[in-house]
């Protein structure tokens, strides 16, 4: 492998890794407030891309993306209100099955609305062959959009959870739901907010990655599994860890192409998931002692 190729793969890996990290952050937000892993997280990403592509026919790109994010947030809120809000103290098994069912329904609805064709948003700057030369490598400007949007999301999220009253209330619910309720926080609304937030972030990710990865009705599930791998790798609930783990997984995947056939690429990230679940279920950066106190 030449040095140029090495850096080229490195950049590709970082780009994909950051996309996985955004999906993982979506998992983390819902997990932190509810203790639920939302198996329909990948479908939010798909919905964001699909809605933006449809809206693009009637409005300019920035508006279409905003519209897609808002609509997906509404879908997220609707899902929480219809299917999750009124269950009291459901078992983990029940929640897993309900969110899996939801992901199937969203996917099938997308299949009937948009069909099987593969779509994508146009590149935000230039087109498929526009490149920026960075030393030895050439990268698409879209890569900077992906990295930039992810950076802003992580920054805004940490500010949101630290500085705003709403963010603090959500964190209070995550830390101790009963105590939060006693302080007058409406814990049920916080769960709805967390679904909206996570759906919105997923949709935004779906829009910025659409020109690179394309969008299809079933593109959510593989992303969800990689996002979950990253969320576990970085320690469930830890957003900074997710970014680091995402970049790590993306780079491993990018280099794996030169050793194994492309068809096995998914199998590699899943093998990493299995190994990490067996060896360090609390993640690379988490502590085993706190993990034991959490309920999976």
């Amino acid at each position: 492998m030449t040095a140029d190729l090495f850096f080229q793969y490195l950049f590709a890996g970082i780009t994909y890794g950051i996309m996985y990290a955004i999906v993982a952050i979506g998992f983390n937000i819902i997990y932190n407030t509810t203790g639920i892993i939302n198996f329909a997280q990948g479908e939010f990403v798909m919905l964001g891309g699909m809605i933006a592509i449809s809206l693009l026919h009637v409005m300019p790109l920035p508006l279409a993306i905003t519209g897609a994010v808002v609509l997906t947030m509404l879908v997220g809120a609707l899902i929480e209100i219809l299917f999750i809000r009124w269950l009291d103290n459901p078992s983990v098994l029940r929640m897993i099955i309900i969110t899996i069912g939801l992901s199937i329904l969203i996917r099938e609805a997308a299949l009937h609305i948009w069909g099987e064709s593969i779509r994508s948003l146009p590149y935000f700057n230039g087109n498929e062959i526009t490149t920026v030369t960075l030393g030895p490598v050439r990268v698409s400007p879209q890569v900077f959009w992906v990295i930039g949007v992810c950076g802003v999301i992580v920054l805004l999220l940490s500010l949101f959870f630290r500085m705003t009253p709403l963010g603090r209330e959500m964190r209070a619910c995550a830390a101790n739901r009963r105590a939060a309720v006693l302080c007058g926080i409406n814990a049920r609304n916080m769960v709805t907010f967390s679904f909206m937030l996570s759906a919105g972030i997923g949709a935004l990710a779906g829009c910025v990655m659409s020109p690179i990865t394309y969008t299809q009705y079933d593109s959510g599930t593989p992303l969800a599994i990689k996002g979950f791998t990253v969320a576990i790798l970085g320690g469930l609930g830890n957003s900074m860890g997710a970014v680091a783990a995402g970049i790590l997984l993306g780079i491993i995947e990018a280099y794996s192409i030169s050793f194994v056939p492309l068809a096995f690429q998914d199998a590699i990230s899943i093998t990493i998931l299995l190994v990490i679940l067996f060896v360090r279920p609390h993640g690379l950066f988490g502590s085993g002692e706190t993990a034991r106190l959490k309920e999976f």
């Binding site: 897993i96 309900i98 899996i100 199998a267 679940l277 067996f278």
Partner: protein, 356 residues
């Protein structure tokens, strides 16, 4: 208890015979094809019921075990070994009598593994894989267990889709019939295949196997092991404190359910004459979970009834292009309104739950 169970099994046997006679009388024997296939799928579902409902361990990868059974048996009985006839391994296999010679439609010589040997090998392979996978995986709980088994299913799907030996996206076709028993005197041979003439025979083979599998599981859950499993579902810590070897129990049931799935995979593949990678897909695994859930989780009879009836409707194409959506909706509705399965629903309690 013993009495009612044997009576229930007897009723099931009578029902199976009655259905066959009814299709004969009304000239609707084409239903038998889907009923046969539904019986094999139901075998996977009842195996999974013991794992999910009684031991409380979710598996989103059982289509993987089904596919291991089906693919191994199909590949071994279909791929021609003539080019490797001089290798020591093939020579050894020939010596112990697990190879069969034949001619394909062009008159070329064929050398393949016999279906019996392939079936045993496929089921043993599934059991060994379940054992090796189960040791680490069953230490996990909840979401982690679900994701790990889901991951296993996807790996099997990817392998089937990307390996030349397993036919890649086309799958394997022209799988020969599986002669369970050779013909003796006036009695013809017992063959699992898709010939129209063998339709009635295959219907009874599939349902016979399903009933035997059912009896074994019913006995299992009423035994010492069954009580241990239910205690694990209730509280793993309490079961452990009471002296149940929880890890061992869970592993045994995991392997058992994998064997059920693999056996169903082997026989259904011989019956259909082939299989494709979609049999290993995540959606299939989810479908098995949906059938277990709609049957009432810890309810073998519910799983049998719902497994057969819903699979039959799906195979008849009743749900059209909404097939997957129907199973997704079933999952959600059952888990929201009837976590004990739709056979356990009392209208009064459902109303009370809705009013709240």
């Amino acid at each position: 208890m013993q009495f009612t169970r044997s009576r229930a099994i007897l009723c099931l046997i009578l029902l199976v015979i009655a259905v066959q006679v009814l299709t004969r009388v009304t000239g609707t024997q084409f239903y038998l094809t889907q009923l046969t296939m539904a019986a094999y799928y139901a075998l996977v579902v009842i195996g999974l019921t013991v794992l999910m409902g009684y031991a409380g361990q979710i598996s989103l990868g059982h289509a993987g075990f089904f596919a291991i059974g089906g693919y191994l048996s199909a590949a071994l009985t279909t791929h021609n070994l003539v080019p490797y006839a001089h290798s020591p391994l093939v020579h050894f296999l020939g010596r112990i009598g697990v190879l069969v010679q034949g001619r394909d439609i062009y008159g070329e010589q064929l050398l393949t593994v016999t279906p019996w040997a392939a079936c045993v090998l496929a089921v043993v392979a599934a059991a060994v894989i379940a054992l090796l996978l189960g040791i680490p995986v069953l230490k996990l709980k909840g979401h982690y267990l679900a994701m790990a088994t889901l991951g296993f299913g996807i790996i099997i799907y990817r392998i089937a889709l990307a390996t030349d030996y397993f036919g890649e996206a086309d799958g394997i076709s022209d799988v020969p019939g599986f002669t369970l028993l050779p013909g003796i005197g006036p009695v013809g041979p017992l063959v699992v295949n898709g010939d129209f003439g063998n339709r009635v025979q295959n219907y009874y083979i599939a349902w016979g196997l399903l009933i035997v599998g059912m009896v074994l599981l019913l006995n299992l859950i009423d035994s010492r092991v069954g009580r241990a499993l239910r205690s694990i579902h209730g509280s793993e810590e309490a079961a452990e404190a009471a002296g149940v070897d929880t890890a061992r129990c869970k592993l045994q049931v995991f392997v058992l359910s994998a064997v059920y799935a693999a056996l169903a995979g082997v026989l259904l593949t011989h019956y259909n004459g082939g299989l494709g990678p979609s049999e290993a897909s995540v959606m299939k695994s989810v479908r098995y979970v949906a059938l277990v859930a709609v049957g009432g989780m810890a309810n073998l009879w519910g799983a049998l009834v719902m497994g057969v009836s819903l699979t039959f409707l799906s195979l008849r194409g009743v749900f059209g292009s909404y097939d997957d959506a129907v199973f997704g909706a079933i999952l959600i509705l059952v888990m929201l309104f009837a976590p004990d399965g739709i056979l356990g629903v009392r209208p009064g309690t459902l109303l009370a739950r809705l009013k709240r």
